[in-house]
Every structure is written in C-alpha cells, then in structure tokens.
Symmetry: C2
Subunit: 126 residues, 2 copies
DNA sequence: ATATTATATACCCATAATGGAATATGTCAA
DNA sequence: TTGACATATTCCATTATGGGTATATAATAT
C-alpha cells in the first residue's frame, strides 16, 4: 500500500539524485555519444551504463538516435529546468546566509584592525 | 558490497528527491515552524513529519532550535546551491531547446499568415 | 549463414527507504 | 509525583535500487 521510495524514473529529481547519472549527463553535455564511448570514458561495465541511460531516457533527460549498430545518446535538458526553478525559489535564502557570513567576517576584520591599530586615523591617545 | 541506492542522507540531491521533503522545505521557507504546525499544514502523521525532518537535518537543509517543549525548524538553504549550480550548467541547452520550439512556432505562424493572406502588403494578384 | 561488434535485458543479491502503529523521550504544569 | 503535551525513535512490511554476470537482440561484415 506504500511506495517504499519514489522510483528513479518517477521524475528528474529522482533520476538525477544518483551521482552516476549526473556524470553521464555531464559527458553528454558536449554532444551526442555512443554507449561505448561512455563506457570507455567512465570505466564502468557496459550493462551499467545502459541501465543508467535507460533511466535517463525514461524521464526524458536523454534522447537516442540509431546510427548503424550504435545508439547515439544526447542530452535533453528541459526536464532539468523544474529542478533549477525549484532551487531558485530558495536563492534569496542562501544569499542572505552568505551575506551574514560575509558580514561576520568583515566585523571580525574590523575588530582585528582595531586591536592592531591599523587604519587608526588620529594620534593614539595613550 | 554495494550501495543499493545512495542513502537519502548522502547529499542534498537525494534528500530533496523526495517530493514530501520539498513540501516541508516549502513550508519552512517563510520562517521557522514547530513540528506540529507542519503536521497540521501537511495533514501527515506526526512521526512521518519528524522522520522527514531528520533526513533534512542530516544533510543540513534545516536547523533546529528548542523552545520549551517545541522544536522550531528553519531552512538552511546553502546545500541547495550545489543543485542550482549543477542545473545551471545545462541552462544553455534548455534555452536552445526553447528557442528552437519558439522558432518553429514562429515559422509555422508565418506559413499560416501566408496561407491566409494576412499582412499581405500590396494588392493580391490573382 | 555465420561470426563479430554494439547495446539491451534478465536474474541474483544486499541494502535501504517509506508509511503506519506503537512506544519512548523530554518538557512543562498542577 | 503525576499528567498532559510535543516530538523522536523503533519495528514492520513492501518495494525497488544498483552492481555483477550471463545472455539476448540488433546490425554489419565475411
């Protein structure tokens, strides 16, 4: 009665959660490639590569084209946009976070400067 | 000897692959909330909410603060930036894709206009 | 037709995640 | 201390993953 965990083919979020699949997409980003090229570049077993490609294909992240006995895979990035858009929703939050970190660093720098007497304008009164 | 699938606590990609967890983050995006508020808003069983929060906590996507007998959770968006950045890598690809779609639509529109004789400048020669 | 190359599929195993229900822990109030 | 409230943890059953190995399918060459 329960779905133990959303299948990897459920959506691009799940498909891309697997680091291996991101690697594959990374290689395909430059252009279409036959399976064997991926096998060689990645150093994995061929069935493994095919299986990852299958998942990517099912969520529409790659396309295939037959060329002789090869199959040329290429990226179809569209399904990544929802991920990007979703993450963007939180962008202002991590910006603030980084700002705070920066401010704290700057505040600390000021303290250090004061301690060391750097940038002190007038004559230091004993 | 194998990891059947990367644990959900392996990284933010995996933690966020679960739609429920994205919902939780969505609610927390506006500000910190006690568990019970999440339970009420989401309509899930309390343990379920706690368990999802635990995963989010382990990958650093949320922070907790004790307040009396409540625990106030808030978003820590920093771990989402890698996801956003990774997706950005492919942005130009889906842009092109969209451009092509747009161009095709425009080309089609032109054909329709020609067929219908709309926007024709001079007198139509029989 | 057969051998060879390129890729996909089937099968097995260990791992683990999810929801549900029950229960434990922690904190405050009387 | 006892009770009530807020949250976390444990146990269970179901499901599906990812790697490995072996095998099936498809296309080309001889």
């Amino acid at each position: 009665m329960d779905m133990a965990r959303a299948p990897t083919t459920f959506d691009s979020f799940n498909a891309v959660a697997e680091p291996c699949r991101r690697q594959v997409l990374g290689l395909l980003a430059t252009g279409e490639l036959p399976v064997n090229d991926l096998v060689n570049s990645l150093g994995w077993h061929q069935p493994q590569v095919s299986k990852h490609l299958r998942v990517l294909l099912q969520v529409g992240l790659v396309r295939v084209r037959r060329a002789g006995r090869q199959r040329l895979y290429s990226v179809n990035a569209a399904p990544l946009k929802p991920i990007h858009d979703w993450a963007s929703t939180f962008e202002h939050l991590w910006q603030h976070q980084l700002d705070r970190v920066k401010q704290r660093a700057e505040a600390k720098a000021v303290l250090i400067q004061e301690r060391d007497g750097v940038y002190r304008m007038g004559p230091v009164k004993k």
